[in-house]
């Protein structure tokens, strides 16, 4: 994750901070959580239920549900749709995101 993708120039609003697994990540007003993570070079924020494989945004429009993240303790939020807000705490969603089945 050491290669932050180059963000296109032009937008100059004031960034604010969210966290991903405890680490600060800058976000711009109006960006989705997924966009803020991409801008920081983070492409995966979920592990799959069966194989434990890393996943992130794929379809980018809320259809595939690959970008599910745990946001402020709530699992299964679609990061490509949810706008980033100052202080949002994202954590890698493991499997279905609940401590145990059915919880």
């Amino acid at each position: 994750m050491s290669r932050p993708p180059a963000g296109p120039a032009g937008a100059r609003p004031e960034p604010f901070t969210i966290t991903f697994d405890g680490r600060p990540v800058p976000a711009l007003p109006g960006q989705t959580l997924a966009a803020a993570l991409w801008a920081a070079g983070i492409l995966a924020w979920r592990t799959t239920r069966v194989g434990g494989r890393p996943r992130g945004a794929f379809c980018g429009i809320g259809q595939c549900h690959d970008c599910l993240a745990t946001v402020n303790g709530v699992p299964n939020r679609r990061a490509c749709l949810v706008p980033a807000r100052p202080g949002d705490a994202l954590t890698t969603q493991e499997g279905h995101g609940h401590d145990r089945p059915g919880s």
């Binding site: 290669r3 993708p5 991409w38 995966a44």
Partner: protein
């Protein structure tokens, strides 16, 4: 008027009613989707004197085609050149000026139903991702579906690695969020969208080492008259072509990414040549280093709201299924209309023409007036010309049956349920599955969060074993994920503990109820009836020399 989902007290609501609007007077027209087709349809209908609710899942109008950054991001339009932006500016002005139009943003419609009095109800959940717990019902005397399309995907080894993103997804994330998935992005798959995506990514600063297109562009030349009748489309292609030349993007026709390399994320791809049936040619693979791959194989009309109430469908030239529509855009179910990609993928200009056609026909019917004959004739001519072009293009990018040749047994087919190709093949060859539904029951492929939107094409192709087979169109009872609490609210229970009981009683005195599909007669090509051949993986006729 724009009514965001987050703001309580939308039309017809008073206080914390669990499901507002059920007993309010219906709108004349409810439009679902605020892309080019729905937006045009909604403003046209409002200008013709109808009261209109424009219901859309996004926070801003435009749909996927006119997706643009939030105002807070400080960039008014997408960062890459957009050749067709002016019509959207015009539609935005008309939307702002419409007094009889209510724009319901961040409303995700999960079902539509015809009520006993002949009106339509659209059931929606609200919020950016539909989880804010406030379900909404919107009623209308007529319904216009403009729900667009989603991307078609064909799996290949490594396509679930982080860094592999949908081509349309990369475009969407760039247009709205001003971000790229990597610095060096290969664009691959099939269809005209690839050139647009590559041009956007390159203009935004990504290095695009290759555009990999499975079809041969020469197939366009089979319909010279259709091409000649659409000079603007040819100019569009030239614009993209010139942009790609400027950014030194190399185009690989008749080729595909047959493997992605990397362990935790994309490090490189293998690109192989294909024969005319999209079968990879042995020994032609070469490695291209990249840190992301944007991939897509065309678009699939998003029609589950319509098929759930029995609308007839037709097989399109690219093997996808769209709604079967009459000359004025009405579906086979009276009072339910559709425009744009729902009737077959054809682009924004066609979508606008269809949206206007539908709105004029709906206004004529509801107001008992005759539609302006000159305008109707002009719109029909435009639509026929653009539809012919779209059909020619779709046919050129139909996946060939040989694409399954690049699958390995451990290639994941269903991303949600992590079902590999080997298990799907086992279900087909050893257990006798012949259709996607049986494969789903045996393997869980298509049973996950996306409801088979990502793997549906692949599963249908594998189930039919390359032969023309009749997989029915997808039926999804719920078009978007709906929390059980929202369904409970539909049944008349408070959707959250501690909230008051529903006070509202609909006019007819019945309790609010979950929708049931109306007893519409089922036409011959309807969802449950045996369909027509699925062309997406069918052997195509050989051209005669």
């Amino acid at each position: 008027m724009t009514v965001p989902a987050a703001e309580p007290g939308g039309p017809g609501t008073e206080g914390p009613h669990p499901v507002p609007d059920a007993s309010a007077d219906p709108y004349d027209l409810v439009v679902i989707g605020a892309g080019p087709a729905g937006l045009t349809g909604a403003v046209t209908a409002a200008e013709l004197g109808l009261t209109v609710a424009l219901v859309d899942s996004a926070a801003r109008p435009g749909g996927q085609y006119y997706r643009h950054p939030a105002p807070a991001l400080g960039a008014g339009r997408p960062p890459a050149p957009h050749h067709d932006w002016t019509p959207f500016t015009d539609l935005g002005h008309r939307l702002a000026a419409s007094r009889s139009l209510t724009h319901l943003t961040e409303h995700h419609v999960w079902s539509v139903a015809r009520e006993s009095d002949g009106t339509w109800t659209a059931h929606a959940v609200t919020g950016a991702d539909g989880t804010d717990g406030r379900p909404v019902r919107t009623r209308g005397r007529a319904l216009l579906l403009a729900t667009g399309a989603h991307e078609r995907h064909l799996p290949f080894p490594g396509w679930t690695l982080p860094g592999v993103v949908g081509a349309g997804g990369a475009q969407a994330m760039l247009s709205a969020g001003l971000v790229l998935p990597g610095r060096r992005v290969v664009v691959a798959g099939s269809g005209p969208l690839l050139l647009a995506v590559a041009a956007s990514l390159a203009a935004a600063g990504a290095r695009v080492p290759a555009v990999v297109e499975a079809a041969g562009y020469l197939r366009y030349a089979r319909k010279p008259r259709v091409l000649a009748a659409n000079p603007r489309k040819a100019a569009e292609a030239l614009t993209y072509g010139a942009g790609l030349l400027r950014h030194r993007v190399r185009l690989h026709p008749r080729s595909a990414v047959t493997r992605v390399h990397g362990t935790e994320r994309v490090e490189a791809v293998t690109v192989a040549r294909l024969d005319r049936d999209w079968r990879p040619l042995p020994g032609t693979g070469r490695r291209i280093d990249c840190d992301a791959l944007a991939v897509g194989h065309g678009l699939v009309p998003q029609i589950e709201l319509a098929t759930a109430v029995g609308c007839a469908t037709r097989v399109l030239p690219d093997g996808t299924r769209g709604l079967a529509l009459g000359a004025d855009q009405e579906t086979s179910v009276p009072g339910l209309w559709a425009a744009g990609e729902t009737g077959g993928v054809g682009g924004a200009e066609l979508a606008r023409a269809e949206g206007e056609t539908a709105a004029r026909a709906i206004a004529a019917r509801l107001l008992g007036r005759r539609a302006d004959p000159a305008r109707t004739a002009l719109l029909r001519r435009r639509r026929d010309r653009l539809r012919a072009f779209a059909d020619a293009m779709a046919a050129a990018h139909t996946p060939g049956p040989g694409w399954t040749g690049w699958l390995t047994d451990d290639t994941e087919i269903c991303r949600c349920e992590e079902v590999p190709a080997g298990r799907v093949r086992e279900a087909v060859t050893d257990l006798g599955a012949r259709d996607p539904r049986t494969v789903k029951l045996l393997t869980r492929a298509g049973m996950g969060w996306c409801q088979g939107r990502m793997c549906g094409t692949a599963v249908a192709c594998l189930a039919s074993r390359g032969a023309p087979a009749p997989p029915p169109p997808d039926r999804r009872l719920l078009a978007v994920p709906v929390p059980l609490s929202a369904l409970a609210a539909e049944e008349g229970e408070p959707w959250e503990p501690g909230l008051p009981e529903i006070r509202e009683v609909p006019k007819d005195g019945e309790a609010p109820r979950v929708p049931e599909p109306p007893a519409a007669p089922r036409p011959p090509d309807s969802p449950r009836a045996p369909g027509s051949p699925e062309a997406a993986c069918a052997p195509r006729p050989r051209p005669t020399p």
